[in-house]
């Protein structure tokens, strides 16, 4: 053993060396670096999880937006359908009203015409009877002969004509 140099003092010295190196490396290498690696791993994991969460959220909100758009479209369609229905109704109502009004006007006009006519007829009749009475008076007043008769009637008619023209 002496020939290859085993020396217990030196073994102890090297043992102390090794332990010193062990302690120093633990303090300045293993602890800080492992801590940093752990921290970084935790951070990466956290970021990945966050990214996943955000992705999920995005897809969820996208779906929500899609659903909202779909609902709005449906609502719009409903509104349009309702509006066109209402418009149809209004048109129909307007048409009905117009027709009724026209009918009323026509009826009114007809009534008015009828009234006018009745009045004219009544006027005419009274006029005519007056004339007849006038003529009869004249006829009765004078002695009646044929030519005179004719002349009288013509006179009356002429009078009535002049009346009519007035």
């Amino acid at each position: 053993m002496e020939n290859i140099g085993v020396n217990w003092q030196l073994v102890v010295a090297f043992l102390i060396n090794f332990l010193v190196l062990f302690g120093l490396l633990t303090a300045i290498l293993y602890k800080p670096v492992l801590k940093m690696l752990d921290e970084r791993a935790a951070k990466i994991k956290e970021s990945l999880e966050q990214a996943e969460k955000i992705k999920e959220q995005t897809s969820r909100s996208e779906e929500q937006i899609k659903a909202a758009v779909e609902a709005a479209r449906k609502e719009g369609q409903v509104i349009i359908a309702q509006a066109s229905q209402i418009a149809e109704k209004i048109k129909e109502e307007a048409k009905d009203g117009a027709r009724k009004e026209a009918d009323a006007i026509v009826i009114k006009a007809r009534d008015a015409i009828k009234l006018e006519r009745d009045k004219s007829i009544a006027d005419l009749r009274s006029e005519f009877s007056n004339l007849t009475i006038l003529a009869a008076e004249k006829v009765i007043k004078e002695s009646l002969d044929a030519p005179k008769h004719r002349k009288l009637i013509n006179e009356v008619l002429e009078q009535s004509n002049t009346f009519k023209q007035n």
Partner: protein
């Protein structure tokens, strides 16, 4: 184009110079001078490597010898501490270069250990195994730098009829001192046995060698009245005790094998480099320096790896371990 031509010309010139250096050193070396029968002044010769296994004392402090290998190991420790102190002084989430280096070292070794020991035991093994690896590999690589083994007082040694001039280096590869390898082997041994005792319990750990529980079961068979099972159980029980004794012996032999594996490989490497430099002083030793770099890494990995594997074997119970014994 002209720039490229210039640089390729430079390469050619450099190649010629290196080749000339190689040939000159070959001719002037012991092989060439014998072959061509020329006398070379001794000042121009590289001295023959003089193998001294014990490390040489540089100073004495009282009774204690401060050897050149001890100084080397101090330098290793100082360099490592400086490097990693500056690397991890200000730890940042986004690392700088030095911090990245420290992280690569730690993370690489950590993952390797995790692969062998499993996630549960990584942090138990990590500090010791990593320290062994870094210490051994730094010792080995530092020993390949120019200052090691070449710088020191010259002594004249007479061995029988021959007399030779030898350098007693101030700095000698720390791994070539058996005291250093023995100290790491002891650390490894104590660490492994401590793990065995503490992690799976002292009684269970001792039982994992001798399998007393099997012997107890055999006595149980006796009380049940099964004589045949008792006899065979007793026989196997004694075989187990014998195997356990051998196994305990093998645990102690690990110290020796750890010690001599590293010591032998590193000493052989030093001698190989010395001999190559002695034969052909220039160029020829370069590939061997590459080889020794590899060997340094490999030996550090083997030392740390075996510590790890033995430790894993100690913390896993005997039954799970199965046929891993060798």
């Amino acid at each position: 184009m002209s720039k490229l031509g210039c640089s390729s010309r430079l390469v050619v010139i450099l190649g010629i110079v290196l080749l000339a250096l190689f040939l000159a050193s070959f001719v002037m070396g012991p092989l060439g001078s014998k072959f061509f029968n020329i006398q070379v002044p001794t000042e121009l010769q590289v001295s023959k490597p003089h193998v001294v296994l014990p490390s040489e004392a540089m100073f004495h402090v009282g009774d204690f010898k401060i050897t050149n290998t001890l100084i080397s190991s101090w330098i290793t420790i100082i360099l490592l501490c400086l490097l990693f102190f500056f690397a991890t002084r200000k730890m940042k989430i986004i690392p700088g270069r030095l911090q990245s280096f420290a992280e690569v070292v730690v993370d690489g070794i950590y993952n390797t250990i995790e692969g062998v020991a499993g996630e549960k035991h990584v942090r138990t093994f990590f500090p010791i195994v990593t320290t062994i690896f870094i210490y051994v590999v730094t010792n080995a690589l530092l020993a390949l730098t120019p200052f090691w083994g070449s710088w020191g007082p010259i002594e004249h040694v007479t061995e029988g009829a021959h007399s030779a001039t030898v350098i007693v280096p101030f700095l000698r590869a720390a791994n070539t001192d058996i005291n250093l390898t023995l100290s790491i082997a002891l650390v490894s041994f104590i660490f492994i046995e401590y793990l065995g005792f503490s992690k799976i319990g002292p009684l269970k750990y001792i039982d994992s060698f001798f399998q007393f529980s099997a012997l107890g079961k055999a006595f149980g068979q006796l009380f049940k009245g099964d004589g045949k099972a008792f006899i065979s159980g007793l026989a196997f029980g004694f075989i187990n005790i014998y195997v356990g004794l051998l196994e305990i012996l093998s645990h102690f032999i690990r110290i020796v094998s750890f010690t001599f594996r590293l010591f032998g490989n590193m000493t052989a490497g030093e001698i190989l480099l010395g001999v190559m430099t002695f034969l052909v002083a220039f160029i020829a030793p370069v590939p061997f320096y590459g080889l020794e770099t590899l060997v340094g890494f490999l030996q550090a990995m083997i030392f740390a790896g075996l510590t790890l594997v033995f430790g894993v074997m100690a913390v896993t119970s005997h039954h799970e371990e199965g046929a891993e014994h060798n």
